[in-house]
Amino acid sequence: NAGVTQTPKFRILKIGQSMTLQCTQDMNHNYMYWYRQDPGMGLKLIYYSVGAGITDKGEVPNGYNVSRSTTEDFPLRLELAAPSQTSVYFCASSREKLFFGSGTQLSVL
């Protein structure tokens, strides 16, 4: 099992550009999450999903969008990137505990 796979690992964006962070899990988990972690800070929930076709906002959803068309995939879309979105992004899936991807380090310059 690969677990939770995130791509890309690193990305630099210019202000105003858009991009999609990919997340795939092969554990057949219903719950999936996106978190962001600013340098030296904790994990903030952006969006989460309880199953295919069902998503909901977390603590810091502004500037992001998600979709969940399959159980396996939960991509995170950044529209009109801003410097404030410079962060490390973690995707996770859960069954009793959270399984994390390795993270995406995003810089918006």
Binding site: V50, D56, S102, G103
Partner: protein, 112 residues
């Protein structure tokens, strides 16, 4: 509203003990503890499902007081490998579903 952890940071010598607290203003139904090494994803340590239940993992254990809405993580005879940031986590009910949020975090540094 995320759970608040204390202390924010702690420095230990090898072999010393530490306690990390997690306090919530809302009811806690379960508490998870994770450790995150620098540049890595958080790693699950343990889950506490019942009030008062204590769990153990190597020399790391935890307690959960449902009435006080608090959990504590106990690290005994600390090792260099214990360095990292510790997070408590819990589920919050939202619109009939559960969203998972983390506490504010505690940075732990163990020195030789």
């Amino acid at each position: 509203q995320q759970p608040v952890q204390s202390p924010q940071a702690v420095i230990l010598r090898e072999g010393e003990d530490a306690v990390i607290n997690c306090s919530s203003s809302k009811a806690l139904y379960s508490v998870h503890w994770y450790r995150q090494k620098h540049g890595e994803a958080p790693v699950f340590l343990m889950i506490l499902l019942k009030g008062g239940e204590q769990k153990g993992h190597e020399k790391i254990s935890a307690s959960f007081n449902e009435k006080k809405q608090q959990s504590s993580l106990y690290l005994t005879a600390s090792q260099l490998s214990y360095s990292g940031t510790y997070f408590c986590g819990t589920e919050r009910v939202s619109s009939g579903t559960y969203k998972y949020i983390f506490g504010t975090g505690t940075r732990l540094k163990v020195l030789a």
